[in-house]
């Protein structure tokens, strides 16, 4: 290695470290200021807390009703993901295996629906769901399934094309039923697509603000994001109560950070493979 290229490498690493620090800066702020009083935060936002106290965190923990909101968010996300995975893998498989005008039409319908922005259906959708008493968590997970389907059907049907028919044929000859063929043979083969579908939909559902806001509104059933929004709204009439907002944000993003750090290889795979197929 020549001296020139060594210096180049060193500069590259310095730039990367600087960018990494810049990326982490807001998170560092968030952590540091979650242990400080309002006055301390405003006066000296960069400093470490003068005394270690969990008061602000526990206050935020209560204000956003963390255990309840976490339970609701987890329940909603899991329920929606299970529905999306089941419904879209069924449909993707059926569309790929059966070729007809009808199946092409169904496929095109799902692809075209990706063009419809949420705002275009928002008000009538809520009106409709309100009329049948579904402005609640169940209704929300149905809505997420409807919105998540298009892309997921698209991803699944793309991948099913590369799964050979012969295994399914053999299973059928051995007398397996449709559900057995699907869950025992087909579904395990498309595991990587399932990971992509879960990651892409999960990130969106967990952090979504608009749909819970519109569907749950001021009811006492609130997701984490919604709790955070109201905590800020209700106490923010006289300037921003940073000593509440910072710890509340920290608590509300923590579960996702933990999930991400534990399963990051799946996230990376999910995002890159989702892009290749679209």
């Amino acid at each position: 290695m020549t001296l020139g290229s060594k210096i180049g490498k060193a500069i590259l690493y310095i730039v990367l470290v600087a960018l990494a620090l810049y990326t982490l800066m807001p998170v560092a702020f968030l952590v540091v200021n979650s242990f400080k009083s309002q006055a301390d935060i405003i006066r000296n936002p960069l400093a470490l807390p003068s005394a270690f106290t969990l008061d602000y965190l526990s206050n935020a923990f209560e204000t956003i009703q963390f255990p309840k909101a976490l339970g609701i968010t987890v329940g909603l996300t899991v329920m929606s993901l299970v529905l999306i995975v089941l419904v879209s893998s069924f449909a993707g498989w059926a569309i790929t295996r059966h070729k007809s005008k009808l199946s092409t039409a169904v496929y095109m319908m799902f692809v075209a629906a990706m063009l419809i922005p949420f705002q275009a259906v928002m008000y009538p959708l809520l009106n409709l769901f309100g009329a049948v008493g579904l402005k609640n968590i169940t209704g929300l997970s149905i809505m997420y399934t409807g919105f998540g389907l298009s892309m997921s059907v698209f991803l699944y049907s793309g991948f099913f094309k590369s799964v050979p028919l012969s295994i399914e044929e053999a299973a059928l000859i051995d007398g397996a039923g449709i559900m057995q063929i699907f869950f025992r043979i087909v579904f395990p083969l498309v595991r990587s697509t399932t990971v992509t579908v879960i990651v892409l939909n999960g990130m969106w559902i967990w952090n979504d603000y608009l749909l819970p806001f519109m569907a749950l509104g001021t009811s006492s059933t609130r997701t984490l994001v919604l709790e955070l929004y109201y905590a800020r709204m209700l106490s923010g009439q006289f300037g921003n109560p940073w000593e509440l907002i910072f710890p509340a944000v920290l608590i509300s993003v923590l579960p996702m950070v933990i999930v991400f750090l534990c399963l990051q290889k799946y996230f990376v795979k999910g995002v890159s493979e989702g892009a290749v197929k679209t």
Binding site: L46, P117, W242, V257, F267
Partner: protein, 298 residues
């Protein structure tokens, strides 16, 4: 076997069709119909049913005459242009840098991607603090690290707020797009670079003659995603400015029509969302057709 699949086609695809119909299909059609009526959310102006309340194109005319709506369309377009360019450059730079080092790729990748996991609304509050206090009073103030007046009070002026939103959007989504670019770069065979070296191409020439053309599929995907995401941006807008100082993007504008009008004019909101849909769909179709052409040429 074909017969077997044919028999099971409908039962397998039916749940998806049902979800689709109730969540997107029916509301979409109702939405278009209601955009031509005097819909007020809970009732119809001028009758008990929507067919007694048709107003023709009145809602559309009102929408196009509304300064707020026109302003939000222009503002969203400007935001989208700046954000798409910025995200693409940063994401590609991240990917190229990580591609040319051997040690530490994993941690850097994790750090750059992480902001994506943190919700836009939640981190928007933190960024609001950074713009209002840290940028304004510490880093860019006259007695700060270096004085840049443009970077101070960014959320209190339409132009500066646009760049504030771009700064946060780049921070949040560059890492995600970087992953897609890394995937694209990895699929370019090393032989091509070797061949280019033998032919005497320098690094700059290699980038423009080998990397960039072969990266076209990834660039298309990233362009499409960033374009759509920026045009539909909502949570960062809500958290940073809440639409004050004429900083409403279209998505927020459609939400706020209800509050701006009394009684709430849902018909007009619906007209604005139909216009929004037409624009989003047009952008996407244009993008797809342009890509097709390019792929044929290659």
């Amino acid at each position: 076997m074909n017969k077997y699949y044919k028999k099971w086609f409908l039962p397998m695809v039916l749940p998806a069709i049902l979800f689709f119909t109730f969540v997107i299909g029916i509301p979409f059609i109702i939405g278009i119909i209601y955009s031509f009526t005097g819909w007020r959310g809970t009732y119809f102006a001028g009758g008990d049913h929507f067919w007694e309340s048709f107003v023709g194109f009145e809602n559309y005319i009102k929408a196009f005459q509304s300064d707020k709506f026109i302003n939000s369309l222009i503002y969203t377009t400007m935001f989208t242009v700046v954000a798409v360019i910025a995200i693409n450059i940063v994401a590609l730079a991240f990917a190229l840098m990580l591609g040319s080092i051997k040690r530490g790729v994993g941690p850097f990748r994790t750090i750059f991607f992480m902001p994506n996991m943190l919700g836009g609304l939640a981190m928007g509050y933190v960024w609001q603090f950074i713009f209002e206090v840290v940028y304004t009073e510490l880093i860019f103030s006259p007695d700060g690290i270096f004085h840049v007046e443009f970077m101070r009070y960014m959320l209190q002026n339409q132009t500066q707020a646009l760049f504030a939103m771009v700064i946060m959007t780049v921070w949040q989504s560059a890492g995600y797009m970087m992953l897609i670019y890394i995937g694209g770069l990895n699929s370019i065979s090393g032989d091509l670079y070797e061949a280019a070296s033998i032919d005497g191409a320098g690094p700059v020439r290699k980038f423009f003659k080998v990397t960039l053309p072969l990266l076209m599929p990834s660039i298309t995907v990233v362009l499409f995603l960033t374009l759509a995401n920026s045009f539909k941006m909502l949570d960062i807008n809500v958290a940073l400015t809440g639409g004050d100082f004429n900083t409403r993007l279209v998505a927020l504008q459609i939400l706020r029509v209800i509050r701006d009008t009394s009684p709430p004019n849902y018909g007009m909101a619906q007209a604005e969302s139909v216009i929004f849909f037409v624009i989003v769909a047009a952008i996407a179709l244009l993008q797809v057709s342009l890509t097709r052409k390019r792929e044929v040429e290659m």
